[in-house]
Structures are given as C-alpha cells and as structure tokens.
C-alpha cells in the first residue's frame, strides 16, 4: 500500500473518533505548547539581556582603581587612584589577548550650545574607546589619535546630548559647544545605544580626547589615571584569560606581595551577563523537564488508545489480512496512525504555544523570540514519541492471526 493511502486510511480512522483522538493528543498539545511559549519568552528575555550587555561593549573588562582604607573605614572601589598611565600602556602592549585598552575619565559638567544648556557626563578617552564599545558614528567623524596627541578641543556627542542642545535629528557637526567655558568643536555624533539594564542612558554623554579632558576639564592626578581602564579582549573565549593576565600584570607592576588584596578591581561583563542569564537557564532546564514529562504522559496516552483501537478493530485487521494485507502493512498503518496523532498534537501545540507567547508579549509587554528550530524540534519530538509509543500496539496488530481475528467478537 502506498504511503499516501496508508496516511489516508490512518487519518480516516482517527477522524472517525474525533473526540477520542483529540483527548489523546491533549498531553502532547499541552507539553509542546508550554515549551514553545516558554522558550519564546525565555529567548526573548535572554536576547534583551544580551543586547543590553553588548551595548556596554564586546568582550569587555573594566579595570577600576583601588580602595582607600582610612582608619578602618574602607572606601569603595575607585576611591583612590592606583592605576597609572604606564599601567594602561603596559596593558596595551604586554598582553597579547588585549585588542584595545582605553582610559575612561568621567566628569559631570554643564554643556552649553548657542541657546541651550544641558548637564551631562563628559568622558575623556582615546579613539579605541569607540571600538571597545562598538559604537558606530551617526554623523561627522570621530576624533583621532592626532587629536589626543595635540589635545585638540574637539568633541563627539551622544544622541541625547544632540537632542537637548540642538533639537531632535539636528546635525551638530561643526557647531561649537562650551564645557566649563572652553569651546569645543563638535566633529561627530554617535548612533543611539539606548539604556543600560539599570536604566542609565548611554547616549547622555560628551566624549573628548583624554588629553584635552585632563588639561581643560578635570586635571591634576599626574602619573595616576583618574578614571578606569576599559579593556576589550580579542574574543569571547579570551576574556577570562585576559582578566587573569591583567590582574597578574597589575599586581607585578604595583609590587603586591602574594597573599595581599588587589589594589584595583576588574569587572568582567561577560561574567555578569552570564550570571544574569543563570535564572533563564534554570527556567529552560525546568521547561525541558516539564516537556519531557508531558510528552511521556502524552506518549503513554497514545499507546493506551492505540491498544484499545487495535482490540476494537481486531476484525477489521483480520479482514485486511484475509484480503491480502501483509503484517508490515498492518504495522505501518497503526504506526502512521500513532504518528499522525502525535504530530497533529505537536502542530496544535505549536500553534497554541505561539498564540500564548504572542498574547503574553502583548499583554505583559514581554519581548518574545520565535525560534524555528525549536518548533521543528518540538514537532519532530512529538513524532518520535508517536512512533516510539505506537510501535508496540502496531506490532501487536501485525502479529494477529487472521483466523482468530476474523472470529473476534
């Protein structure tokens, strides 16, 4: 019998008992829809966290200067400058897994345009900073190392500052802004980056060459670097190695004997990001377990109904055998029936799951992400369950003796 015919016979048998078929697939429907919905929501949440962390910078390490201890009271990280400009150069030149390293000096200052003012964060850094944060330009150009060397009075603006000083969508290139009464020529504006996970607006900043920053905005630490060092590793796999290399290098340079605390601290954003995804991962594992259980239960339901069906249709099986069905034809027919039940359940489950995810996305404002591979895996898995649990009843049907089967009451 052809595959098409087998499928037709199977579907017809299932449709003959619509209610029963539907109830049988319910286990699989529930399992698959739960998985599809939860994976869509989980992936959406994960993607959002990832996007937020990658906005900070790719493969990013932040080196913060150390703490002070005055009379037993510990200052926080960054309360005392312990990092030097030579430390920065050493990180840049001595560690092979460092792609970029840039200083980040910050000050809060009022910035004036012709007719507006805005208080924002002014960052002094080098051109590598833009690469570390993978921050593309929106208009104009970035400042260069020549600007850093010459301490030119140029500035690159974040979008929020552009909006506040020049109005939305204005092109600020060529305009002059004043920071602490020093005129800076705007050479470029940065594309919008959005907010950090904790609500900080990345675009609310003015970026100037670090040399200019030290001369005109906030100077006076001499050899010490009055900010943090941002380090970008060569790739995701080298981030933690870079972290330990930087730590070793700085401990050497600061002549810290073994056993003492670091006088600086390193924040590994990849680690923070993965920690914040730990919850998502636990949820995903839990979901997989729920899915496995409900598919198992669904499979048992299918097996149960198929066994009932084989018994009910014993005479039909006997007749089919008498008119020439081979055991393989009978087995295939019942297998296809179980498979059709399971796959139908899987497909209904996918539809319900996508619907549920969509509903949750629209009513709770959650971000959801539909992954076609999850859908295929879910349907494929239900098919597998159908074949797995359908095999025994189908095999039993195929082993019936036509003579006894025909006499079965």
């Amino acid at each position: 019998m052809s595959w098409f015919q087998t499928l037709r016979v199977a579907l017809r048998a299932l449709l003959r008992n619509k209610m029963r078929s539907f109830l049988t697939t319910l286990g699989i429907v529930i399992g698959v829809s739960a998985v599809i919905a939860m994976v869509a929501i989980g992936d959406g949440a994960k993607a959002r966290v990832e996007a937020q962390f990658s906005a900070m910078g790719s493969n990013l390490l932040m080196v913060l200067p150390g703490t002070t201890t005055a009379g037993g009271a510990h200052g926080g990280f960054g309360s005392m400058p312990t990092l030097t400009w030579d430390d920065l150069r050493a990180i840049q030149t001595e560690i092979p897994t460092v792609r970029y390293a840039a200083p980040s000096l910050r000050a809060t200052a009022q910035v004036l345009s012709e007719d507006q003012n805005w208080t924002t964060t002014v960052i002094g850094t080098t051109p590598d900073y833009f690469d570390i944060r993978s921050w593309p330009i929106a208009a104009g150009s970035l400042f260069t190392s020549v600007d850093v060397d010459g301490a030119t009075k140029v500035a690159v603006l974040g979008q929020t500052v552009v909006d506040k000083l020049f109005g939305p969508n204005a092109n600020p290139v060529g305009q002059v802004i004043r920071v602490k009464n020093v005129p800076f020529t705007v050479v470029g504006s940065l594309s919008k980056k959005g907010q950090s996970q904790w609500g900080m607006d990345f675009d609310d900043c003015v970026i100037v060459p670090v040399s200019t920053f030290r001369q005109k905005i906030q100077g006076g630490l001499g050899n010490y670097l009055g900010g943090i060092i941002m380090v970008s590793a060569t790739g995701p796999s080298t981030v933690s190695r870079t972290e330990s290399l930087v730590r070793g290098l700085l401990r050497d340079r600061h002549r810290l004997p073994p056993g003492t605390d670091d006088d600086f601290s390193i924040r590994n954003l990849a680690e923070i990001a993965s920690a914040s995804q730990e919850g998502t991962r636990t949820l995903t594992t839990l979901l997989a377990a729920i899915a496995a259980v409900s598919l198992l239960v669904g499979g048992i339901g299918i097996m149960n109904i198929m066994l009932v069906s084989v018994t009910e249709r014993t005479r039909e099986i006997g007749l089919r055998m008498a008119v020439g069905a081979k055991p393989g034809d009978i087995r295939l027919q019942f297998l296809v029936e179980a498979l059709a039940l399971a796959v139908a359940g899987g497909l209904i489950g996918v539809g319900l799951g996508l619907g549920a995810a969509r509903w949750m996305a629209s009513s709770f404002g959650w971000q959801v992400l539909y992954r076609p591979d999850v859908i295929f895996i879910a349907v494929g898995f239900s098919g597998l369950v159908g074949v797995g649990f359908g095999f025994y009843p189908a095999h039993r049907a195929s082993r019936l003796d036509p003579i006894t089967a025909l006499r079965f009451e």
Partner: protein
C-alpha cells in the same frame, strides 16, 4: 484429465496443540477441485470443515501434506507470500459480511486493491465494475448500515471479486440471510461458476448445498462423501427488487 485441477490437496493433516491436548482437526484429506466447479463443503461443527477452509484460503498451513493452488505448492510459503496469494488468487465471503463500518460500499470493495498496489483511478473503476456485476452499481456511496443484509453480502461478494481471483471461498455466506436473499446470493455464485470462477462454499444447510454441483461432506477430519450431481438452478429474483435494481441502472 486434460487440465491440472485448480485446487489439489494431498493427504493434508492439521493438528492443533491446545495445552497438552493435541487436536486432530484434519486427519488426511485429499481433494481436487476443478476450474469453475461449484463445491459445497458440509459437515457438523467440529468436523474439520472450517479448518479445511482456512487451509484452502491460505490463512493457515497444513501440518503435513501438500496443497497445490493453481499449480503452485503453497503449503510451505511464509506469511508474506501467503498474503500475496490471498490477495491475487482468492476471494473471501464471510457469514457476517465483515464490511468496514462507516465506509462506503465502493471503498469496501476497493480494499483488496489497496494491498494489490493499484492506482486510485484503476481502483475506482474496478470496484465500480465489480459492484455492477453484483447489481449494486447504484449503491456505491451507501454505507453498510444503509443496506439490507442481502445487499451487504453482495458488496462483500463484489469485494471478493474485485481482484479477479481464481477461487471464491464462502464461509456460511447465507448464515445471516433470510431464505429469499440466500437464493439470490446462490444465484450469484452459480453465475460466477459459469464465468469460470471456482467457488467453494461451506454450509451446514442442505437447502443451500443443493445449488452446488458437488457436495463434499466432512466428518471427524476426513472426507466422508464426495458427490457430483446436477445442481438445482437458483432462480429467485423477487420481481420487486429486480425491477428496482434495473431502474436504477443507467
């Protein structure tokens, strides 16, 4: 004999084991049935006639002895091969019709063709022709529960005929029918015999057996008597139903 018999049993025995007890259902049966012969097998229950039918129908294999069907030794064939022979060479008619419920007459008749691997167009055409042959062309889309017993049995006969078999094996085909419809069915079998199809019929009713041209009587697993004689011609068709059938034909 210028032609090999269609069915040839040579000293066939069948022994079942039920627990520790051996049941000798057939104790050495030799039988030849010629092409186009209409044979009735009679006997009390337990005489071995059902076992004989199962073996003739390739549903079961003899314990010893040989069975040649249409010149082919089939007693040692495997399950698959026997299924193929049942499909091509044999048509079955049962006492309880064994039509698939909620399935149209046409599709019931098509059933053996599904396993013969026929294409859809071919299947429909042959099933329709087969239904026409039993006078039910107008009932093709009726379900079994919409038809009388006689009509259902005729659908079953159409199903048996659809693969153009050499043999029709009918097991008490009139057991569930009233006497008028029984005669109708017997007339149909006689017609098949005339067209060269061999019919073997199991019955316990002498009334029915008289329409056959040969009566084999079984007892205790052996052939007790084997009589060839002129068959009574079945001429039943009650005028009402015949007219209805003809009106409906295009």
């Amino acid at each position: 004999m210028d032609q090999a018999p269609l069915i040839r049993l040579e000293d066939v025995t069948k022994t079942y084991r039920m627990g520790d007890v051996e049941v000798h259902a057939l104790r050495g049966v030799s039988l030849s049935v010629e092409l186009g012969e209409f044979t009735a097998v009679m006997g009390a229950s337990g005489s071995g006639k059902s076992t004989l039918m199962n073996i003739l129908g390739c549903l079961d294999r003899p314990t010893t002895g040989r069975y040649l069907l249409d010149g082919q030794e089939v007693s040692h064939l495997g399950t698959e091969a026997l299924a193929g022979i049942r499909n091509r060479t044999i048509g079955f008619v049962f006492q309880s019709f064994n039509l698939l419920p909620r399935t149209s007459a046409l599709e019931n008749v098509e059933l053996p063709l599904l396993y013969a691997g026929a294409g859809a167009v071919d299947r429909h055409a042959r099933a329709a022709a087969s239904l026409a042959q039993v006078g039910l062309a107008d009932r093709a889309d009726h379900f079994p529960n919409q038809m009388s017993g006689g009509q259902q049995q005729r659908v079953a006969i159409a199903r048996a005929l659809v693969t153009r078999p050499r043999v029709i094996l009918a097991d008490e085909p009139t057991g569930n029918l009233d006497s008028r419809t029984s005669v109708e069915v017997m007339a149909l079998f006689q017609e098949l015999g005339r067209s060269g199809i061999t019919v073997v019929l199991v019955t316990h009713e002498p009334d029915i057996a008289q329409y056959a041209s040969r009566v084999v009587t079984m007892r205790d697993g052996r052939v007790r008597s084997d009589v060839r004689r002129a068959a009574r011609r079945a001429e039943p068709l009650p005028p009402g139903e015949a007219a209805a059938a003809e009106e409906a034909l295009p």
